[in-house]
Amino acid sequence: MNVPLPVFVVLPLIAAFLLPLLGKKYKTAATVLANVVTILLLLLAIGSIGQSRVYEVGKWPIPLGINMVLDGLSALLLLAIGVVSTAAMLFSVRYMEQYTAKAKFLCLFLLMVAGMNGVVLSGDIFNLFVFLEIASIASYALVGFGCEHEELEASFKYMVLGSIASMFVLFAVALVYGNTGTLNMAYISEAIEVSGLNIGLGFALALFIAGFSLKAALVPFHAWLPDAHPSAPAPISAMLSGVLIKALGVYALCRIVFNMFGVSIQLGWLLVTLGILSMIVGAFLAIGQWDFKRLLAYSSISQIGYVVLGIGLGAVILAGDGEVATASLAILGGLFHLLNHAVYKSLLFLTSGSVQMSTGTREMREMGGLADKMPVTRTTCTIASASIAGVPPFSGFWSKLILVIAAVQAGFYWIAAVIVFVSLCTLIMYLKVQRYVFLGELGENLGEVKENKGSMQIAMVSLACLCVLMGLLLFVPGLRENILEPAVKVLTDGLEYSSIVMK
């Protein structure tokens, strides 16, 4: 399918513009429309796998106009966004019945999806900033959707830190423009290759890394995430943890570091440090939590650390003239973990939403014994927990295994040890979830608890199936070559990005 690339952005935008017009009267129509749009986007994302195209918006050749670039990395992220948004949207059909203003919720949801798609496809750095703002502002509003004390507090915190991050990014864009005279990523990377990294550009790079790390909630910058993600409604938590921090944070970071500025050893070690810090701190903080969703949120920090670690390791090896095959393996591990995490973390947040809706609480000490009451939620949650903890047949195991192998091949045994150690911590924290939420004695006041039916079940079950099947991505030959390897190649090619885009 060779649809024009702006369809990925304009389709959800138009639906979002139409939704408030439908209003209260045609609530069913609004829900159907929103679901159709997300499913269409998923299909389009599947159709775009393995393609590599450049689209010049408005027929203006770059650098005059803005171009959109679809390559392996973008296609991978588009796929993740498509999968998670479809499931979350389906889940919210029933879940959001407990809130008012559903049409506006759907509208903000679609705007967030449009923003993320725009970020992922953009080939122009200012354009990337604009779409980053769309996705961020929609997410600030969605975090505060409940309008209760905690939601508003979390939303304000998130908004302040997010705005500071955006300002950093904008200032960095201004610095890059001042130094290179262009805004197109391909031209910038060419100009930087010629001029070298002077102090202004170096500062811009530092600002970019700080800004995008804030968006990705890597550890020194993580303060907002454990508040914001649990406070949002469950489908939004799934979107935020599942794809938003990856599309706005990790993806943008990769694009800037690998394709625009080019990797260096120091930069690689910086990423590795950020990744390892996030892994360890996130895991330790998560184990101590008694709030179900807060535990999941801290676990997200830890898991995003794996992704950044893999990518940083790849950068270290690439810049240190190591073997490209090893670097590819490390990056493959990181990106595969990104995809895995998108699926199972969103599934975990959906199950937590299901539990919260039935029991009315997020406190794990008040739960217990829900295994018989909510069999579907329990089964899907177990699958996702096993996957995230790295129990062998599930996909989470394979991505961590790849990371370990890559670290060993490159000679960094201590990194491999850290990966295994954090993996054990993850196992402990999810055993805790299983033990206190689903097993044990039935908590007080939980006699009337019922399983949630309808769209919520469909969403959870389909994500669980996907979770089981994710391992195939690695072993079925056609899939890996078309989904994962082009994405890895975009990063290992590094600065050749500019020649690919400019032809």
């Binding site: 004390h149 304000f156 908004m159 200032f171 807060r294």
Partner: protein
């Protein structure tokens, strides 16, 4: 030097946003940062004795744009970017103030050290 003054303004805003404990003050800090970035972008495009990037009838010579206009116009691209950035900042200001007002209604204060329900 003008650039450095701009940067000082940016850092004043950042200082305000990270240190103050009044919610409206934090918003004001972010606004100051936005002004600073906008000014910086426009300054990047300035030309000494430049003219605004708007073609008038006097700038046309037999249907073509005069050399004088081409060689003395300031950079139009940062202006386009700043126009976008201003509107974005207005939008986020509106949302931030809405959150502030709603929070004030719930907690009865703008003091973020007293708005502390989330822990951990």
């Amino acid at each position: 030097m003008l650039y450095a003054l701009c940067f000082l303004l940016f850092m004043t805003g950042l200082y305000c946003a990270v240190v103050k404990k009044n919610m409206v003050k934090i918003v004001i800090g972010i606004l100051v940062m936005e002004y600073a970035v906008n000014l910086f972008l426009i300054m990047l495009g300035y030309r000494t004795n430049g003219i605004a990037p708007i073609v008038g009838r006097s700038d046309l010579e037999a249907g073509e744009i005069s050399e004088l206009f081409i060689s003395s116009t300031v950079d139009p691209l940062p202006q386009a970017l700043v126009l976008t950035a201003i509107v974005i900042s207005l939008g986020s200001l509106a949302l931030m103030i809405s959150i502030c007002i709603r929070t004030y209604e719930k907690y009865g204060t703008f003091d973020i050290t007293q708005i502390r329900r989330l822990k951990g």
